[in-house]
């Protein structure tokens, strides 16, 4: 099964992978810009989480599944959680 999948990957038209890689590069650039443009910190954390998912897909498209797993867990889950907790703490002090 995995040999079959590997064979299928290598016989796929070369342009398809290129198109995927270019698409995800553009999406990551757009996502990063989006994170910067969102000004409200709470919304920014959500945007950052989405950006983490995009970055994970980027690493997958460039054949680095190990890095995909790290980015998915740290960039899309743990970092937003730490930021949300910090925001909650800071806002409580402000009130």
């Amino acid at each position: 099964m995995s040999a079959l999948a590997a064979a299928a990957r290598y016989t796929a038209p070369l342009g398809l992978m290129d198109a995927l890689q270019v698409t995800i590069l553009v999406l990551v650039a757009a996502g990063a810009t989006g994170v910067v443009l969102v000004r409200d910190p709470a919304r920014q954390v959500i945007a950052l989480s989405v950006y983490g998912v995009l970055l994970a897909v980027l690493f997958l498209a460039f054949q680095a599944p190990d890095v995909t797993l790290s980015e998915l867990t740290v960039g899309a889950v743990v970092l937003p959680i730490l930021l949300v907790l910090t925001l909650a703490k800071v806002r409580r002090r402000e009130e």
């Binding site: 190990d66 790290s70 740290v74 889950v77 743990v78 959680i81 703490k89 409580r92 009130e95």
Partner: protein
Amino acid sequence: MTPAVRRWVFLAGVAGLAAFYLWGLTGLPRFGSYPGPYGDVINRIAVAQTNATGVVSAINFEYRGFDTIGEEFILFAAAIGTATVLRHLRGERERAARDEAMDRTVPPASEAVRMVSLLLVGPTVLVGWYLASHAQTSPSGGFQGGVVLATGFILIYLAGEFLVFKRISPVDVTDAVGAVGAGGFAAVGVTAVAMGLPYLFNFLPLGSTPGAVSSSGTIALISFLVGIEVAAAFVLIVSELLEQTLLFRQESR
């Protein structure tokens, strides 16, 4: 300096930077080209040498194991640092944070969030455990597995069970687990030295089948140790931050 002059200085700087940048871009190697022999050599010999089919793990925990132990202790130091900065000071007393705006009702976690979080705890812990213990066979590893394991704990908090979260991850237990993970990694290296081998040498039997879970010697062992260290470090950091958010500390008078 007037704004106009300042703008011209800025534009000149940008033009210079752009020129150098474009010049640099024209000299880059082609996309995807790889000049060095090191990766090709590793690709050819790694599976035969280590019996690990997850070659990235073989590099992380064997060929470049010394780098990884440094990274491991970066995370360890960061977690300890967080716990130290956010520690309970003598003379501080804490109470549950209460909403200062008395007319506002704080909505509890919705039933849907609680339900989904609790349902996901089991699968998340399973996936984390799998990732941490299968670095030698497939793309995964202790770091990824450890973070996923820690997410399982965070889900329990999301389900609205902060007290359960605190009970199953008391600071001294997470500290101890983290220390066993980090110290175990170093101990594996020292054991090799004690046997008269180079530091972090793969001294365990490699098994006969490449890609079997029981194969690859110290690679599987180190990955698992990294997994529990990373899980403990992240649970420690998150629980310290949660305590900061949910409890209110003040100087006792």
